[in-house]
Symmetry: C2
Subunit: 329 residues, 2 copies
């Protein structure tokens, strides 16, 4: 099948860039040093390729992701790096599930839901989930008193990982991880889990890195000069061309996320506006009705979540199509 | 069922606000004066309610939407207000399908795909699809020479409909519609189709208005002081609360769109950051772990497209659940 036969807009994965990204990461963080985050791609077929590179432990952001990974036979060691107040669906799974907790309530939810293992989620600077570092030891004690196994700590330095300035990124990651390591001393356990694609080679404190974007990449992460290639694009068809110098392709707000700003177009065309089902752009060279363009989203995660499938391509050939089967909650 | 039993995040439709919106619009634009745009809700169950108010002609933005509406028995008069280069799926449908065309290529696509009726899509100021107004007559002639019935014109004044300043909005709508009416004189046919929720009571030139957002509404349109109520929200659960004064609920970038900016929270809480599965906010009064909050998206269309279902509620009671069955392309 050729990409010209796909219904557009369609999510494409460049096979060679994807393979490069997986190989590069597996070399830098082999085996369990990487705990790939499936939230970035929501696709068990893609996760199977990550497992094929030696990573058998995964990070999830939703209960649905954990369920789907378990059903796909990828349940060796699943960390739900998020808080939940009803863990009953997790407790039922035939998989090793570890749950993040940051409060008495989330510990009780784990117990009640039949989850056996937890990590203490520590706030290391991002105003989101996680307990104050000084409370981590006490929470671990509470969790153990309720019969849970505490495997260690996690802390996401999300305020640092997207910064363009590498020196500043390093500085903030170091400060965050100082807090996490201290909390780990109080908590115990084997796991110090943190990080992201933006800190994969900086964060030497954590013993496992929760990177997700590296596999597909986006234009926001591309600005950091990481050794990962843009593998993801949205294929669109030019459906209208103006005599005023702009063209319109059939890919819009329901095919890509805008929280990190406008997308780019692979050939260097200038994007003017994005509306529900359209992208208006000034072509770099020319754009005739019927031409296809590859649109590069600024943020991979919420872009993939709009699509039912991603198509693995090499040039114009569609090699295979993967279901985005971990959507929803 | 109570809303506390829903898996969060969950899309809610307030039954009373929704009913108010449908009744208000049906009074202002009865029957065929409104051609409701289904792109805003992507839900045939909701469209059935619009049909129940007397609107039997609908606007669609994608082939998938046209197919789904036809399959749901709502195919009396479906306008695909968008350009396509492969119309074969449309030509196969047991429904009355009218297709927008703005070029020789899109006319040929209609002919080849077996579509019988078209409207000439005219650019009235928004840099997107649509032919120059002066070319509309010639395109209509071409379409007729190829055996197509030309039902009239459409032109979307999208650059005007979202403006807060009503006087400016009126001015730009008038200028746009002057172009469309002139094009209609050259084209002929019964239809002058235009508009949106933001111009439903201003655009007196078009004989049918393609409003969609009015049924559910969003915070962007709320700023215009229209007589429609916010019926849509995303229900989220507070999963973490910081001693630093903020709380975190489980609703993020995969549950609402950010192209029109951050969402609001119904109780007036201040939203700080939105990430993939989280919203961090400073509570207006207090927010305890386990509390539920209703998040109000800035843009309805790409928010709904993230969800598989919407739940119609009155207070805390879930009255019914509707499939968002028109997603994809």
């Amino acid at each position: 099948m050729r990409i010209g036969e796909l219904v557009t807009p369609a999510l494409l994965v460049d096979a060679d860039a994807f393979e490069h990204n997986l190989a590069t990461m597996a070399l830098a963080l082999p085996g369990a040093r990487l705990r790939p985050h499936v939230k970035a791609h929501k696709c068990t077929a893609l996760a199977q390729r990550q497992a094929g590179k030696g990573h058998r432990s995964f990070t999830c952001a939703t209960i649905r992701e954990v369920e789907g990974m378990a059903a796909a036979g990828l349940g060796d060691d699943l960390l739900l790096a998020n808080e939940v107040l009803d863990a009953t669906r997790l407790g039922r799974l035939d998989a090793r599930v570890t749950l993040a907790v940051d409060s008495l309530q989330t510990i009780e939810a784990a117990v009640k839901g039949g989850v056996k293992e937890v990590v203490i989620d520590v706030n290391v600077g991002l105003p989101r989930c996680g307990c104050p570092p000084d409370n981590a030891g006490q929470l671990a004690e509470m969790a153990r008193s309720r019969g849970l196994t505490v495997r260690g700590v996690m802390g996401y330095e999300g305020h640092a990982v997207g910064l363009d300035d590498r020196a500043l990124r390093q500085e903030l990651v170091a400060a965050s991880m100082e807090l996490l390591v201290k909390a780990h001393t109080a908590v115990g356990g084997d796991i110090i889990s943190a990080g992201a694609t933006g800190s994969y080679d900086i964060n030497t404190w954590a013993n496992e890195i929760q990177a997700g974007s590296y596999a597909l990449m986006d234009t926001a992460y591309a600005k950091l000069g990481l050794p990962f290639k843009q593998a993801l694009s949205v294929l669109a068809t030019v459906i209208s061309a103006s005599t005023d110098g702009y063209a319109v392709a059939n890919c819009g707000l329901k095919a890509l996320a805008m929280d990190h700003g406008k997308p780019d177009i692979a050939d260097g065309s200038t994007v003017l506006i994005v509306s529900d089902e359209h992208i208006t752009f000034v072509p770099e060279t020319s754009a005739a009705i019927g031409d296809q363009v590859r649109v590069l989203p600024a943020h991979v995660d919420p872009t993939v979540a709009y699509h039912q499938q991603m198509h693995v391509v090499r040039g114009d050939e569609v090699l295979e199509s993967w279901e985005v089967d971990l959507r929803g909650w």
